[in-house]
Every structure is written in C-alpha cells, then in structure tokens.
Amino acid sequence: MMMKKHHPGVVLFYYGSVLVLTMATRHPAVTLLSFLFSLILRFRMEETRKVGHSLFYLLPMILMITLLNGLYSDRGMTLLFSWGPITLSVEGILYGLISGISLSAVILWFQNYHDTMESGRFLAVLGKRLPVISMMVSMIFRAIPDTLEQGREIEQSRRALTGERRGKFQMKHGVTLLTILMGWSMENAIETADAMKAKAYLSDKRIPYAGIRRSLRDLLPLLLTLGSGALVLGGVFLGGAGFLYYPFMQIPQRAERGFFLWLAGSTLLFLLPLFLDALDWALGQLRRQLLREVSPDPFVLQLLPHDLKAGVE
C-alpha cells in the first residue's frame, strides 16, 4: 500500500515531482499544504511514536530558521522591534517560518519516499541500463549490515574470551579488531566468488532481471501525477504562483488568474498517495459487500485471498 506495490519508475516520478514543487516554491499556502500532507502520510506509514520522534527534531529546526531569518532580514516593513542594527519584522519572521516548514516538508517527503521504495527497488529502474553497478550496489546493501554485524561479533567474542570489561577504546584493540575483520571479510569474499563462479557468472551471457512489471495499475498514479503536474505548471504559467513577502506580504494582482489552478494542482499532487489508498480501501469494501451478498460456498471462500475473506467470514 501507499504506492509500495507500484512500479518504482512511477514512484520515482511522483516523489520527484512533489520534491521539486516543494523545494521550488515559498508560496505559504502550497508550502503549508505540502507539510500537512507529508505529515499525514508519514503518520499513515510509520508508528506514531517514531513520527513524534522526527517532529522533535523538526520543530526546533523550524523555530531556529524563523528566528535567524527574522534577525538577518531587514527588508520587511512591518517592524516589531528594533534595537540599533537589529530589526525584527513580521515579514522576515513569516518568510523564515515558511522556509523552515518547507525544509521540514522536504525531509518528511524524503522519509516517505524511502519507506515506499525500500533498498533494492530503486536499482530495478537502473538494472537494465547499468547492470554491473546495480549488482554492485545490491551486493553492498548486503555487505554493510553483514560487516557491521561481524565487527560487533568480533568485539564481543574477544571480550568474552579474555574476560576484559568494556573499557576505554584502545588503539591496539582497534587494530586487532580490524585485522580480524579484514581477514574474515576477505575469506568470505573468496567463498562468494566461488559461489558466483559455480553459478556461471563468468559466462558472458548475463541478462539482468529486474523483477518488476509494468501493470495497468501503474497507469492511474502516472496519469494523476502528470495531470496535477500540468495543472500546477498551468497555474505557474498564468502567474498564479506569485506571492510577495517584501516589503509587505501580498498576493500580487497578476496572480489572481492562475491562483486556483496552482492551488488545485498542488493539492491534487500532494493528495495522491492518500487518494490511492482510500481508493483501494473503497474497492475492497465494495468487493466484500458484493461477496457478502453472493455468500459463496465455503469451499469457494477457502480459495479466496486473505484480505477478501476477512470481511466475510
């Protein structure tokens, strides 16, 4: 769900569009929408506790950017406070606030992207073009956790053997640990190489298999991303994205024409993953509803996938 099952190319395109839009604009309405929807999506994808944890870092960051921009910017005309060279204007503070929120939104969207794509799926897009690199990266993805785990094991095994307590870090111990780790990793690499040879890696016939398929399901998010993107661009073209912070905050005259397109396009774009999820859920409900009305034979019911059965039994 949350686009996890869609073609990685589509996911990449969607999140690319969202990030470009979020980074490119300081329009307060769009930035706030972006932040809002990235946060809602975050709560849908991750445990509440962990989202709270990232907010714990993001909120002070927003506060700091707000304050810094307020102090350094002297272009705002609505003065709140002035003391010698230091001036604090409403415009400066608000611009800083929106910048901070925009940065937080970018971070949240990135986290959402990361959870959607998982490690290898990005490579699947590259696989056909850059087979060697994509395979190397795939091997590295495995090597990193393995090596860390081995390092931990070496450290613990040595302390266990000698009965020494965990003390200050000693260079000598560090060197021994590294020597062991290097020897062990190289030994492992030889075995991996043997296994690769045994599976005819050197045969020159290799054609990478990406393990992904295009399906009709990918068409909807693709079209929606394209459509809402077009609305956004149209809005921008008509000037609807305009917003002035300095010297006074205002929506300029020329922005009135495209404003609606701009706002609607952005909202649609940010909503997409939530919309797809809601659609999935609604279709599922509908199917279950229909199934209940038909009330099939228990034997037939047995053959149905779990998520369908759940609502009927």
Partner: protein, 533 residues
C-alpha cells in the same frame, strides 16, 4: 566430455591430485562412478580430502595443482557449500534465486516462472521478498539449495551443507534433499558427517581415508564394512546401528547386515529377547558442592520495545561440574552465556560470581578470533594476558591433536579444527569457569571424542564448565547436570541421566532406540557396563 551412452553421470578414473608445494598426494588413484538418479554420500574423517575431491569435479571450482587420471563430469553441476551466508550473492531472496538464471541469459518471463515453480516446491513463497539479512542460517541454506536446483542441474554437489546448522534446520534441509531426490530424481552427491540422518536416505556410499577410496557401495554393507574392520570411523555410525551390532554380538545372534534406522533397530532388539542381569551403572555421584556462579532472576531484552529473551531466569552453577543448557533455536541460550560472562548486562536481575574466579566464554564463530597468519602465533597471541609459554601451548594443542597443524594458516583449517583451535585459545587463558557456546558444532565423531575427553579432564582439574548445545547425544555423554531453557526460563534442572531417561522425545538416540527394551540406557558407554546371561 560426458559419455552419453552409459547410465553413468559421473566417472572418475585413476584420479590423483597434489596441491602445489605439497609432497604428499591429497587424492590417490581414485576410481568410482555415480549413476544417474543416485543419492551418493561421500564420507570420511576430517582432512581425508573430501572437499578437494568434490571441488575437483566442478571445473569452475577445481583447485590448482597436479592432476593425474580422468574426470568425466557433466558441465551443469550445481554446488552448495558449507557456509550459509557467504554463498549468497544478492540482497533479496527472489533476486538470489534469479541470479544463476540471469547468468544463463534467460528472459524475465522464464525467470519468473522458474522462481514461482521453485518457491512452490520448497514452500518458501512467503519469504520470497525478504532481505537476506533477515534469514536464519537454516533458511539461508535452503535458499542456497533452491537457487542451485532452479538451474535444473543434472548433478547437485553439497559439501557439508548442514555443518553450521542446528538440528531442526538440519532435519528440514535433509528432508528437502530427500524430496528432491524422490520427486525430481536429480542426482545428488553429498559430503556429510551426520551419518545417523543421512545413511538411511542414500543408496551409494563413498568412503575416503587419507586420500584413498576405501569403500564404494551400498550403505548397509558400508556399515558392516566399518564394524567388521573395526575402523575408527565406525564411531560415526548411527546409535541404532551400534546398539544392534553390540546386542547381537552379545547374544551371539549376529545377522548379516546392520540396522540403520530407529524403527528397524527396535524391531531387531525386540526379537533378541534380551534379559538384563546387571542394574544400570549409577551416575557419577555429584557432591553437593557450592555454587561458583549464581544467576538470580536475570531478565534481558535487546531493546526496550522488544519482548524479553530471558525472563527472571535463575541458575546455579556448581563448582567442578559440567553443566549443560539445552533449548531450541532462539531460546536465548547464547544470550544467557553473554550475560554470565558479563559481555552483556542484564536488563534486570543479579549475577554473583565467586571472588577471584575468572570467567571465559567461547563464542560460536571461531573466525571472529583469528588475527594471525599461523596457528602457532594465533595460540601464542594472548601469552602475556594468560601468562603461558610455548610449553603449555604445545600441551594443549597436543590434547586437541592440533600439533601437526601449528604452521598452517588458521583459515586453512577445517571447520572442526578451527573450533578446536578457538577452544585451545580459551584454555590457554586458564579461566576457572568456562562458558562454551556449542563446543560440538561442526565436529565429526572423532573430534567430539577429543572434546569430551578434554572437558572431563578439565573438570577433574577443578574447572567448572557450562555449555549450551543442541546435540543431545553429546550433552548426555559429558554433562553432569542439564537445564532446559524454554520460553525465557529454566523449566527443569536435573542430573543428566535422569533428565534423559525420563524424557520421551527430547532425549538421546540411544534412549530412543532402547526405550522400553533396555531401560535406563542413555549413552553407548552404558553398554560396556551391562552383561547378559
């Protein structure tokens, strides 16, 4: 290279092999054939040349050196090695399955279909999308088997594939191997030292000793070849075989061929009409010595949001005794050892260790300890810390038959030899309390004997030993007291003999074979004390 006319898939004629720089031949004048559809076991003591022979059969893995003779082998041999993780190339299960097929240049459609087929055959559909790092050792080895079979090879060679696995995983792995043989008819050549599990499955045995092929034939005849020739390797035979042999010899009713499986052995023992004259020997009387190590209500969890691995666990370790902790996979046995050696600190609870008693823990993976280029330097590495000299080192190396290997690189030792080398490192530091994490893993029968002898000697020298293990036969032979770890707690701690004779399922092979026929038998040594009318 392959001759299609015969029914032979593999033919070796006069094969001799010498490693570069070595004077002695590792393989000497071997002749044998493997038929299509055969399930062949290659066995022999550690260092007899099994791995060299298996690798020589596959061109891509053939060791460099001098060859004599002919090998007629099919080109499409799949190979499964000992270490579960090192053989895996990719980072996800489906991609690992695809790897060999990608190398064959097959199209995506074919690859998908083959993955689906093999996943179904192995019953691994539900973990096809998992990352490799989340798999257990047993699952990894099953994946290795699957990613070999998916290539549709005419021969699968497996070099001690279960040596690093726990018993539950071994059973699952071997039953899959049998399924492949029975249902697909793929020819299998397997080297393995778990004879009890494998002998009933195979139809051909090749026995290698110091580079010579001493036996080639049917498994039952192989058992009698070992027993009649009183070859030391007969220690590796299944308990069922040895008991029936002993009982039939004792009653003078020897039949021509040995028994291989438990039901068969029970049937034959029942037919013997045995009457026991002497009572079973009493267990070594345990003096109620003081506890040198007391764990009180230990609890441990890895993270505050994970469930407890150990919960309120209490255990006393009596001075000068050998104590075993048994338990299933992931029952927290290793964690318990880490807590007792103070490498990890308990989440709650207390650990008391008698003053001035030093604790040493030997962890599972010997490779985590080796940093030198020669075994000798490796063993001398901690001589300052342990205050020992070359003399002590050679004494301990001798007790574990490591002396001839001192100039070798630690990585060139076999799995069992590495395990013993790591044990030697611990012994040289002469801790008073030895904690051992599966000291028997990967050892062949002869090495197990050495470890058993050594542990008994250490106890008589005043050491206290606690080990965890999966191997009930090993445990029954060496432990004085046994605790069973289940659900984060010790559910029972008992004298070893009563523990095994009172358990119905969780007990030794010997007890399973003799249950209700020769009561009270737990280990083969008990046989020596028995007399019949």
């Amino acid at each position: 290279m392959m001759s299609q006319s015969q029914n032979n898939l593999l033919k070796v004629e006069g094969l001799s092999f010498t490693y570069p720089g070595m004077e002695e031949e590792t393989l000497i004048d071997l002749f044998f054939e493997v038929e299509k559809g055969s399930f062949t076991l290659l066995c022999g003591p550690t260092g007899s040349g099994k791995t060299t022979l298996l690798r020589a059969l596959k061109e891509e893995l053939r060791p460099t050196g001098d060859y004599l003779g002919h090998i007629l082998a099919p080109p499409d041999i799949a190979f499964v090695l000992q270490d579960p993780s090192n053989q895996i190339v990719m980072d996800r299960v489906w991609h690992e399955l695809a790897f060999g097929l990608e190398n064959m240049g097959l199209s995506g459609k074919v690859i998908e279909r083959r993955i689906a087929e093999i996943a179904h055959f192995f019953g691994i559909e539900h973990w096809i999308n998992r990352p490799i790092s989340e798999l257990s050792g047993g699952e990894k080895q099953i994946l290795n088997l699957a990613s070999s079979l998916i290539l549709n090879p005419s021969l699968i060679i497996l070099d001690e594939p279960t040596a690093r696995l726990d018993p539950v995983a071994v059973t699952r792995f071997l039953s899959l191997l049998e399924k492949i043989h029975q249902e697909i008819g793929t020819t299998i050549l397997l080297s393995e030292h778990r004879m009890a599990d494998v002998l009933p499955l195979v139809n051909q045995v090749l026995y290698l000793e110091e580079g010579h092929l001493l036996y080639d034939g049917e498994p039952r005849a192989f058992a009698s070849f070992l027993l009649e020739g009183q070859i030391p390797f007969s220690k590796s035979l299944p308990a069922a075989t040895k008991i029936v042999d002993w009982a039939e010899a004792a009653t003078g009713q020897r039949r021509s061929l040995p028994a291989l499986s438990v039901p068969e052995a029970r049937k034959r023992l029942n037919g013997l009409d045995l009457i026991l004259m002497t009572e079973r020997p009493d267990a070594i009387k345990l003096t109620e010595s003081d506890a040198v190590l007391k764990a009180k209500a230990l609890s441990y969890r890895y993270k505050s949001d994970l469930p407890f691995v150990l919960e309120e666990l209490s255990l006393h370790l009596l001075e000068q005794s050998i104590h075993a902790v048994l338990g299933g996979n992931g029952s927290g046995k290793s964690t318990l050892l880490y807590l007792m050696s103070r490498v990890k600190s308990p989440t709650s609870g207390k650990l008391f260790i008698e003053e001035e008693k030093r604790v040493g823990l030997l962890t599972q993976n010997a490779k985590a300890l080796f940093s030198k280029d020669r075994l000798k330097d490796e063993l001398m590495e901690l001589h300052q810390l342990g205050q020992y000299g070359e003399e002590e080192m050679e004494k301990i190396a001798g007790a574990l038959s490591l002396l001839p290997l001192l100039s070798r690189h630690p990585y060139d030792l076999s799995g069992g030899e590495m395990q013993k080398a790591a044990l030697a490192k611990l012994l040289l530091l002469s801790p008073d309390i030895l904690l051992l994490d599966e000291p028997d893993r990967g050892l062949d029968a002869a090495s197990k004997e050495e470890v058993i002898t050594l542990l008994r000697k250490l106890r008589s020298e005043g050491k206290t030993i606690l080990f965890v293990s999966h191997d009930l036969n090993f445990t029954a032979r060496v432990a004085d007291r046994v605790s069973l770890l289940f659900n984060g707690q010790i559910v029972v701690t008992e004298n070893s003999r009563s523990f095994f004779s009172e358990n119905n399922f969780y007990t030794t092979d010997v007890a399973r074979v003799t249950r209700g026929i020769l009561p009270g038998l737990v280990v083969l040594e008990d046989l020596d004390a028995k007399r019949f009318d």
